[in-house]
Amino acid sequence: MTNVAVRCHSIRLVVVTLCILLCAGCSVRRVVFNEVVTSEQVNFIRIGQTTMLELAEHIGAPDEVTESEFGVVALYNWGDTKSAALDFGALARLVLPYAPTMTLNKTGITPEQFQVVFDPQWTVRAYGFSRRTTDEPVVWFWPF
């Protein structure tokens, strides 16, 4: 074998080993609930004019309707839960009959809500989003 061929073989081995090490014990979970309601989608709402039917035509039926002391409230819920884990013990599974667990895990549950309050004539009295979270990366296992 020439020197070049030996070097190529070694590089390939290093790359494959690195890939295995990077993916070893990596676990990515994601749960998406309903579709996001954006502020652009609700731009059409006019206080005192838009009715519940018009709202449903634009963004669908709410997930919940409830009564508050300010009037009937329609709630739209959605969420994007991301969880990632890195199990350093996973590599041992390749060579040992027993795999020790050494895991770092982070889960971010972000329930979000769009709330619309109606007056007794079923027109919008007020509306707003719940506390919006910034987009977190899907893979982020560091829990500290």
């Binding site: 070893a24 676990s27 309903n34 579709e35 039917l53 409830t66 009937v72 109606f118 079923w122 893979v139």
Partner: protein
């Protein structure tokens, strides 16, 4: 013979290798809402009892603006997963259908609000992106 023994063996091993660690899960809550039954509700004429006979008893009864509101819902979740020796990907997509029937003080249907999202629920494995 259609396949020789070695070829059949290779196909079986390939199929096992390609599908090992694959998990497909589906979960639902409630019954799908029948659109024919929903369209049979006529505003101003259909009574509360007729709505119940068409669609069934509501999942929730809400009172709002001095009126009764029937709420029917259906949830559909699809979750594919790939559980390999060193790498796991799990994704779940859940969507809901909601139907509200608003009744006036005489128990007659006044308004029907229906939204269907479950038709867009997908088996998506890749957890990255939108």
């Amino acid at each position: 013979m259609l396949f020789s023994k070695p070829l059949a063996g290779i196909i079986i091993v390939l199929a096992l290798v390609l599908t090992q660690g694959c998990v497909v899960t589906r979960g639902t809550i409630g019954e799908p809402l029948q659109e024919e039954a929903i369209s049979a509700i006529k505003k101003g004429t259909t009574t509360m009892a007729e709505v119940v006979s068409l669609i069934g008893a509501p999942d929730r009864i809400v009172r709002g603006n001095d009126r009764e509101i029937f709420h029917y819902y259906y949830y559909d979740g699809k979750s594919p997963a790939m559980l390999l020796l060193l790498l796991n990907f799990i994704r779940m997509d859940i969507k809901s259908d909601n139907l509200y029937v608003f009744f006036n003080r005489n128990g007659i249907a006044e308004e029907v609000v229906y939204g269907k999202r479950t038709g867009r629920t997908q088996f998506r494995l890749w957890p990255f992106g939108d």
